[in-house]
Amino acid sequence: MDVKIKNIRKEFARFPALHDLSLDIASGELIALLGPSGSGKTTLLRLIAGLEQPTEGKIFFGDQDASLKSVQERNIGFVFQHYALFRHMTVAENIAFGLKVRPSATRPPKAEIRRRVSELLDMVQLSGLEKRYPTQLSGGQRQRVALARAMAIEPSVLLLDEPFGALDAKVRKELRRWLREFHDRTGHTTVFVTHDQEEALELADRVVVMSQGRIEQVGSADDVYDRPGSPFVFSFIGESAELPVTLSSGQIIFQGHPIGAAEPGEGEGKLFFRPQDVVLTDEQDALFGKVTACRRLAGTRIAEIDIANHGHAYHVEIEVPLDAPVTLGAELRFRPTRWKVFLATQ
């Protein structure tokens, strides 16, 4: 089912958590809400679920206004960050819960519930553990029980809050791949919240980058990484360096010297580039600074460079070829091959 979020605003005790935010999620899409803590991503997820009520704005599930429906009526699958499994119930009872609480008119018969539970256990690869209690499971297993429990009610939308946040790195990687396959197989519209950009970029069809209660950019992994739409996105996603520049008559001016041709625009701004998008050069109009540190990172070498600026220095990190002559304390000249200037007025 597709989900439309229209001009949602949310305030907690006068403190604004989300500012006038709109988002369209297509049916069957896997969407990541990515942002630092406090960016409002979990609030947005809870608003979609109906666990919070918007201060203003509407949310549509398909053509229906979900704002008029209670949590119970929205038929969403919600997986909590800490799973929120019922500790006094076995795995099977946890999964069956959503079916058991249905009014008798729509409640499946007992045998049918049992069959569905074992089907779901199969799907999350936990067959044989139905009699266990949640405390007797590992973190990854609990996560999958929580997912099976949410899927049992055949939700129209699946919402996951930091689904891998509490797991160790190895389990996290496995579950990530597993969730992707799971989504491709079941085709549910899925929204998950994460602060881990690697997770968002790898897993999601589209990434929604959020900051301070606003959506900064919505796009594919390629979009947000290669074509960041705002200074925040550029610095939040991946590594980047940032220098204050001025645009003037088609030139980028840094510390009074032109360093390259600019896109249209005039005025103060910030130049962003990624460490890997630079070349070393001897040209006079290149950027230059003193190498303060140099470290090996897998297949490449990272040089930390201080660009002098009246007493204090701009610190940037660039990637240099392994065979490049880089000496500590020496001067290094380089030029970004791909960059982006964001004007202060934008």
């Binding site: 666990l51 119970q72 969403i76 909590f80 019922f86 819960f97 959503g98 609480v101 249905r102």
Partner: protein, 277 residues
């Protein structure tokens, strides 16, 4: 079980266990042993005769019956009170929270006298029920009311902290799965509170069985009808019938011990069953 001494960063197992045993012996075991010894000193025949005397049996029935009913009622309303205190913010909440403890602090005789005055046929509350033919003060009903009064804080104070620790996400999870408020309460919230509720029940019950001060003013103390066992013990003492007094005490002790043991076992079972620790 070869070595009870577990290696630990905190030394002092021997010292603390020794102290605990000595303390328990002096404070609890010696007086109780003396009681049992005194009561059986008169020989089995007279002991049984005294213990199973009609008046004794009825007094025990009143004591334990009223204590059970009062503890059960306290469980229901104590949980509701704890819920209100934990879940809702309202003006005067802290004041209400403090009032809960008053039955702990108030001399029980004061409570008994004021309850008797209130529930007597001419009292503020009693006069409402009197035309309906319901007598509260000076009947077993009055005893139950006094016991509810003294037992309430036990339930509230044991359930309240556990309730405050309840994970709100569990209720939200139940709601997203389609459970209504009542289903969430009965299937998710209450089961996790069962161990605490049982503890509160046991404490309120134990307190009610031993209660004397508040009850004697409101009970009417009619032999065979509204006479509690502790009062009967005092009556026997005043008659210098020490054997009779200790026999009743001994039986109360045994019944209380067995009931508390059963409740404790239930509690252990429920803790395993409902919280899986």
């Amino acid at each position: 079980m070869k070595n009870w001494r577990q290696p630990s960063v905190l030394p002092g197992f021997g010292l603390t266990l020794g102290y605990t045993l000595l303390y328990l012996t002096l404070i609890i075991l010696v007086p109780l042993a003396a009681l049992v010894w005194r009561s059986t000193g008169i020989g089995w025949g007279p002991f049984w005769a005294l213990a199973f005397d009609q008046r004794t049996l009825l007094a025990l029935r009143v004591s334990f019956g009223a204590a059970l009913i009062a503890a059960a009622i306290n469980v229901i309303f104590g949980v509701v009170v704890a819920w209100v205190l934990v879940r809702y913010q309202f003006p005067g909440r802290r004041l209400l929270d403090a009032i809960i403890d008053l039955p702990f602090a108030l001399p029980t005789a004061v409570a008994g006298i004021s309850l008797a005055a209130l529930y007597a046929p001419k009292g503020w509350v009693g006069q409402i029920f009197a035309p309906l033919g319901i007598k509260i003060a000076f009947t077993p009903l009055g005893i139950v009311i006094a016991l509810i009064f003294v037992g309430l804080p036990f339930v509230v104070r044991t359930v309240q902290p556990v309730m405050a620790e309840l994970d709100r996400e569990l209720e939200e999870a139940a709601a997203t799965l389609g459970a209504n408020r009542l289903q969430t309460l009965s299937m998710v919230v209450l089961p996790t509170l069962v161990p605490a509720i049982l503890t509160g029940f046991a404490l309120a019950f134990a307190r009610a069985v031993g209660e004397y001060g508040s009850v004697i003013f409101i009970a009417g103390n009619v032999p065979y009808v509204s006479e509690i066992a502790p009062l009967l013990i005092v009556i026997r003492l005043e008659e210098f019938n020490y054997a009779g007094a200790t026999s009743i005490a001994c039986i109360m002790l045994i019944i209380s011990f067995v009931m508390l043991l059963v409740i404790n076992m239930l509690q252990m079972w429920s803790r395993r069953r409902y919280s899986n620790v």
